[in-house]
Amino acid sequence: MSRDPAAQQPVLVRLEIPADHRYLNVVGACATALLGRAPGLKEAEIAHYNIELALQEACANIVDHAYAGQPGRIVIELSYIEASRQLTVDLFDTGRPFDPQMAGEPPLDEPQVHGYGLFLIRSLMDETTYESLPVGNHWRLTKRLT
């Protein structure tokens, strides 16, 4: 672990995008660019892809379920601590609350049309938490990179 004091401080990047499938690739590109300057990640391309996919799924869930086709905004805060190689992504929306009934694991031995989104987020990130806000939702995705 780095002893450089600057490496202990989180690097914060804040994005706000329209809740529209068209713009979701911006989030993954931002995370990839942020991590692209982080030194010494193993299998960096795999790590970048997995984080991009998890963020894509999280944002698509917000578009499809929280806003359900209605216009809205998604605020994404990326925080990376170089010393611990920990990426934390907070996503905020003002849409409908998350329905835990959607949270079941898909039976993977049968082809499923729906249900892979949350499964992918949970599989690819170390920790995924959800908090219902007075207005909207807060998701936190955490990944310790190696």
Partner: protein
């Protein structure tokens, strides 16, 4: 003499780039066109697919169900991108679909 002729077509579809929630409807429209024309055998060549999310996966599964219901099948060619290959294994798409290393291999024995 009577000659009965039947032509069985296999559609080979090779999308390039990202298949995500924004672009998946475009792929779905192409596949729908083939299904409407009576095609039941598909090779989806994913070699050039750099990114595939769950919306793209839903398009593939929907096609698989329709094709198999009609007596056909869908075979997938592995993406070149290793990260994308790992996701297909994670979601067990490699067990649900018949996988191949190339379009030629996928077409063999169809």
């Amino acid at each position: 003499m009577e000659i009965h002729e039947t032509q069985v077509c296999t559609a080979v579809i090779a999308p390039l780039g990202r298949i995500d929630a924004f672009t998946a409807p475009e792929l779905r429209a192409v596949l729908d066109r083939h299904v409407a024309a009576g095609t039941i055998r598909f090779v989806l060549d994913l070699a050039g697919v750099a990114f595939l999310d769950s919306a793209g996966m839903a398009v593939l599964v929907t096609l698989l169900k329709r094709a198999r219901t009609a007596g056909g099948n869908v075979r997938l060619v592995w993406p070149r991108e290793e990260a994308a290959r790992r996701i297909l294994r994670l979601t067990r798409f490699d067990r649900v679909f018949d996988m191949a290393d190339s379009t030629e291999a996928a077409l063999k024995g169809f």
